[in-house]
């Protein structure tokens, strides 16, 4: 029995990609989401990616690890990843699970996420002269 995959829309704003998870993702949809994100980064040459979790009430070790993977893989492709809108309950359970997502930049909300990305990418451009 084939499971219908849920596809998360990935939007482009300026040089950044934004994906907001609004549904409970089962594992295969989450893997699809990771692959879609990396493909879109490759196609658009986006400088940054925001994964917005405002509507997500549960992040288990599978999804948490997947988000960590996306950040690591995107970094290899030269794209910064910011995770925005982590609910307090999600932050607490992630820490208690032992998944602290080291190296992931977080922002309180989408707007702050975009300004963090703007600052980071501007800095990088300046550094490169």
């Amino acid at each position: 029995m084939a499971t219908p995959l849920i596809r998360i829309p990935i939007l482009q704003i300026e040089d950044f990609l934004v994906a907001s998870i609004q549904v409970a993702l089962h594992d295969r949809s989450a893997v699809q989401f990771r692959d879609d994100l990396l493909q879109r980064i490759h196609e658009t040459k986006a400088k940054g990616l925001i994964i917005d979790l405002t509507a997500v009430d549960i992040v288990d070790s599978f999804i948490g690890r997947l988000i960590g993977d996306v950040a690591e893989m995107a970094a290899l492709m030269g794209t910064r990843v910011v995770v925005s809108g982590l609910q307090p309950a999600v932050a607490i359970t992630l820490t208690e699970l032992g998944l602290e997502l080291p190296g992931i930049i977080t922002a309180l909300n989408l707007e702050k996420g975009i300004s963090i990305l703007r600052r980071l990418t501007r800095q990088e451009e300046e550094d490169q002269g």
């Binding site: 089962h26 594992d27 009430d57 992040v59 070790s61 359970t93 032992g98 998944l99």
Partner: protein, 132 residues
């Protein structure tokens, strides 16, 4: 007293189980953070069923002990069983794609946690959380 047993066979069932678990936790009066803890623990435990046993069940029930009330989550499968329970309860140990935080992580999220397992027969994990 409410009780439900759900069949766990795929990643879709993991999502349904944690939604049911959260709903029951909410109905029992658990706050948002405990609801997330319980739902996340259910997610970890039912994923173990799918990963290691292929299929099994999760039973969610309201429980009472003395004047305490809470929720009990029982995950059962007839999979390969766990050879060394102490080892799998150690942080960082994993035989699969997890990061070894499935069982110890779920234990930290709940108040009580028991594993009964027999190699070749299967595994039963019982986890409880009490209302404060």
């Amino acid at each position: 007293m409410s009780e439900r047993t759900l069949l766990i066979r795929s990643d879709l069932d993991i999502v349904s189980a944690r939604v049911e678990g959260r709903d029951l936790a909410k109905a029992l009066g658990f706050g948002t953070i405990d609801q997330a803890r319980i739902a996340t623990a259910i997610s970890e435990l039912t994923r173990n069923i799918v990963l290691y046993a292929g299929e099994g069940t999760v039973t969610l029930r309201a429980i009472e002990r003395g004047n305490k009330r809470g929720i009990e989550v029982v995950c059962e499968d007839h999979g390969p069983g766990i050879e060394d329970v102490d080892l799998v309860m150690r942080d960082g140990y994993s035989t699969s794609r997890g990061l070894g935080m499935g069982l110890p992580g779920a234990k930290r999220l709940m108040d009580e946690f028991e594993i009964q397992s027999q190699v070749g027969k299967g595994t039963r994990v019982t986890a409880r959380k009490w209302l404060r």
